[in-house]
Subunit: 591 residues, 2 copies
């Protein structure tokens, strides 16, 4: 694969990503972190001398690297990391140590057996003082024999939920010495005598994190759209039970309950595709602003990427399982690929920022914005809706205010989501305020309002998704395409209203009689989407090689191919399996 | 294990179940179906001659059996099965055939490599007529060489989502001949000349199905309580982030969001334990009535077991994943056992009756009961609440009716769940009625009301769970135990109200201002439960050997043991893995 990428001259990271996906299917690779973390970190944090030394080694894969941050006892709270790098001016070396069991590096991909180098995050000590976390290039295995170097205890962390292809590893240091030049010195520096120079700014690290989270939003769309493709195609192939006595068994996609499971997820997959595109382009726009010294939009992007990462990965994770279980028993077979899609995707809920922590980071920004708005400050960008909503929500008493939802009108639905979000941000801020008034300190108050804060973030993200989906429709010129995408958008919005109807009723945005109308409308939309459902997943355009699912085959020839696939099962290599001779026969002789 | 069971003289099925669980952990075994389906079917469907022949063979495991019903293209709708057994009076044999690809038997556990016999469900043809499905004992492998017999194509169906220990298999018949005596003849019969005698009743098969579904409700409680034990114990061990600057990192169980994830699931696990006990005792009570010829309660038991099987397995499946993700990264490691608990449990949503189909079966009974109640008939048993609710809900116009929930009072909460269920059963029946009035036939009308019907079943089951939990509290004499269980019951009930607040508002059972009170009350309950959370999971009393989870260890000594566990990873058997010599080194030489 690596040679082919070079042969074809593929260098655009997006193209490399898609090219690899075709080769790998849903699986990961032991070299994943070499490309996604080791190399990029060398590029962004080496000084010019270091680049000259390390980039050729990394490109030729003589130095095979990973990125070791998380420790056995430390994940989310990176300031709590315990690994130390203590500078010894007498030899001009850093001494790396793992002082406790909980400080053992844990989880880095490719660390267990593959890598011979790691970028290690450690607390830097020099001249008797701790200067916080810094990154060091640490050789861990011999480049000639691949054996662990002295003082390095390294191995695989054992079986996981999926990711069988990746040797996630542990790494323990016992007085491992590395030259001073192995500290990544583009920004921070330790001089030969041990004098420390701190970095001018920490904003660039911040940027990488935001980038990865933004990309995960697109990942949510891809994972969910693959699962929808498989489940919807197979629901057109599978015939089961009877609708009318004596008639042939209908396609299971004709059952209302099946449509109700799958079509809202199909709509969600489209919504997340548009949100993913938006995140990508917003990231590039803001990055180019940042490169010109304008950091003004970074906090908004940070809040948006954190919240949407959490929102979309939670929804997609649950949605993949709904798709799997909508395929009956065959969804449990790995020939469907649904189990693989699930186990490969679900870690996005935890890595690059645990989802609940992400929601709370977004909430911090929302509360700050709400307070600014209620002090009369005019907000810019996305958050300006809080100014407007403040005006709307408090214009007159709730009881007299007319309900705002016209359940067939997208603009009205966007407005309803906006006001729901504003209402929940308000409630969360007031809840926090209330806790503070109970003489609690800031931190305890925050913790005691956390449920409300997460709920506010969730509503904010939900609003963003509905808004972005609808605004994207404005760019679709083709009438027929516009029509079917609008149907999906209405379904997405109404399904969300019905799942959260208490919120909308509470905010006075919906009346009780409308609940029944929404149920009826959703049923109509399912019926409208039925004839287009299969083409709507075909439009995601996953070739069979990439989808790698017998159930989701484009040609629908499922059962013959399942039989072929099964015959290749490893257990079928011998007609009589060795377990018969080893266990069964001896057991039978004893009974 | 088998020898030990004999040695200790363990014969009670429950004791055998628990004894096996200790040996197996969360895993299944290749002999599972031999014990759970093959032997019981021989007991219940052999005539006296057949018992004499087959029981000793099965007990000595000379005949190793499985149960082959599901086919590649047929699951839920068993009348659609295609395998044929055609009687040939000239040789007094049945000829078994798989006429199509979709008729290949698929999924039976232990079929792929282990079993030498299968009980095969096939369409019986004799004297030119089809007499529907019957069960046949079919030898599939030689009892001396274990090789497949002529005409039998058998093998493993390939990797699945979990269940790695079980060789689920396929089975294809090409004119396989078995003696007439291999048809299970306790009820149906084919005479030597081919004359068919139909069974006197099909109610006994019905009984087995109800039994297994009832048992699955208890399985839901066990799976969820194991997951809660692991997640809650580990949340007391794990320290992360900071609540107050400068202070040590707090236990993650002190975070409100963590409590909000785990404590409602803890309450659910307790609720399901009580429901599981109720289902078991109800099953035994009704079975003894049936044995005395009283079938009157069977339809109610059937509806209850179908609905509660679906309700509890869906909730527990989702809940296990919440527990797993509440453990951060380490929840993904199989040392937590959470991935194994999930993949072992999730199939309960599909097997023994696909959940949506189960919900619709319950709905059929609910609609029938509602119609009887609205015709003035006095219902008995569980469904009598529909008489009462009909009276309450229609006593006065909705707008004037006082809300009924006292959010701190369990009796009032049970009442609210009852009225919500009655309301949704009413709405579903009216929806069905409306569809019928649109000149639709019965079947299309049913399909077009299916979403409402599932929702009604869900509300009915939810009511049953709340009611059974609360009524069980009445039996608890110890004041302190009663107090903490009541707190759990209120949390279970209020969490359900907040998750489904639209329903309660719609039925006029809740006012908008009460929503905020419920949020506050839930927070109070979480705080009250915090000091008891760990003992509440300890009370489930899973020994470490059975829980098999490093994260969930009783002694809390997690990190050292994780490191020990990791060192035993199969990849760590060699210091330098063979992949280095096979792939890495050659690759490096080419770059």
């Amino acid at each position: 694969m690596i040679l082919k990428i070079r042969e074809h001259g593929i260098s655009d990271p997006d193209e490399i990503y898609y090219y690899k996906n075709v080769w790998r299917g849903h699986h990961h690779e032991a070299f994943g972190l070499h490309y996604s973390m080791f190399l990029p970190t060398l590029y962004s944090q080496c000084d010019s001398e270091q680049r000259k030394k390390w980039l050729p080694l990394a490109h030729s894969m003589k130095a095979l690297g990973t990125y070791a941050q998380t420790e056995l006892g430390h994940g989310t709270h990176i300031r709590g990391l315990e690994t130390t790098a203590t500078y010894d001016p007498s030899t001009q070396e850093f001494v790396i140590n793992s002082p406790t069991v909980s400080s053992i590096k844990w989880w880095p991909g490719g660390l267990g057996k593959t890598s011979n180098h790691a970028i290690v995050l450690a607390q830097l000590y020099t001249q008797g003082k701790c200067h916080g976390l810094h990154a060091f290039i640490v050789p861990i295995r011999s480049m000639s024999t691949h054996k662990p170097l002295p003082g390095v205890v390294v191995g695989d962390i054992g079986p996981k939920f999926g990711f069988d292809e990746v040797d996630n590893g542990y790494l323990k240091f016992e007085n491992v010495r590395i030259p001073r030049e192995n500290m990544l010195m583009k920004y921070s520096k330790v001089e030969p005598d041990g004098t420390f120079h701190k970095p001018p700014s920490d904003k660039l690290t911040y940027g990488t994190m935001v980038f990865i989270r933004s990309m995960i939003v697109g990942e949510s769309a891809r994972a969910l759209s693959k699962a929808c493709t498989i489940a919807i195609r197979y629901s057109a192939v599978r015939h089961q039970s009877e609708l009318r006595p004596g008639e042939p068994e209908p396609q299971i996609l004709d059952y209302q309950t099946q449509q109700h499971k799958l079509f809202p997820l199909l709509a969600t997959a489209y919504a997340f595709h548009f949100v993913g595109q938006y995140m990508k382009s917003t990231y590039h726009r803001i990055t180019s602003d940042i490169n010109q010294g304008d950091f003004s939009e970074l906090p908004e992007l940070h809040a948006l990427s954190a919240g949407l990462k959490a929102f979309t990965t939670w929804v997609a994770t649950a949605g993949i399982e709904v798709c799997r279980m909508a395929c009956g028993g065959h969804g449990y077979s790995r020939c469907s690929s649904l189990p693989d899609i699930y186990v490969t995707f679900t870690p996005t809920c935890t890595y690059e920022g645990e989802n609940t922590v992400m929601m709370l980071q977004t909430a911090r920004y929302l509360v700050k914005s709400y307070r600014q708005a209620s002090e009369g400050q005019q907000l810019t960008g996305i958050m300006s809706y809080l100014n407007e909503a403040q005006h709307r929500l408090h214009a007159q008493p709730v009881a007299n205010r007319p309900t705002v939802i016209d359940i067939s009108d997208l603009a009205s639905l966007v407005e309803a989501y906006k006001l729901r979000a504003a209402k929940l941000v308000e409630l969360a801020t007031k809840s926090l305020q209330g806790e503070l008034q109970k003489h609690k300190n800031q931190e305890d108050a925050w913790n005691n309002a956390a449920i409300d804060l997460v709920r506010a973030s969730d509503a904010h993200c939900h609003y963003m998704v509905v808004k972005l989906f609808v605004s994207r429709l404005g760019e679709v010129g083709d009438v027929a395409v516009h029509s079917v995408l609008s149907t999906l958008a209405v379904l997405y919005a109404l399904h969300g209203v019905s799942q959260n109807s208490g919120d909308f009723l509470q905010a006075g945005l919906l009346s009780v009689p409308q609940l029944a109308q929404i149920s009826e409308k959703i049923k109509e939309l399912l019926t409208q989407l039925r004839p287009n459902a299969v083409v709507l997943v075909d439009a995601f355009d996953y070739p069979d090689e990439m989808l790698n699912s017998v159930l989701g085959r484009y040609d629908g020839n499922v059962y013959e191919n399942m039989f072929e696939w099964a015959r290749k099962s490893p257990l079928n290599r011998t007609e009589v399996h060795q377990s018969y001779h080893k266990y069964l026969k001896p057991l039978q002789s004893k009974l």
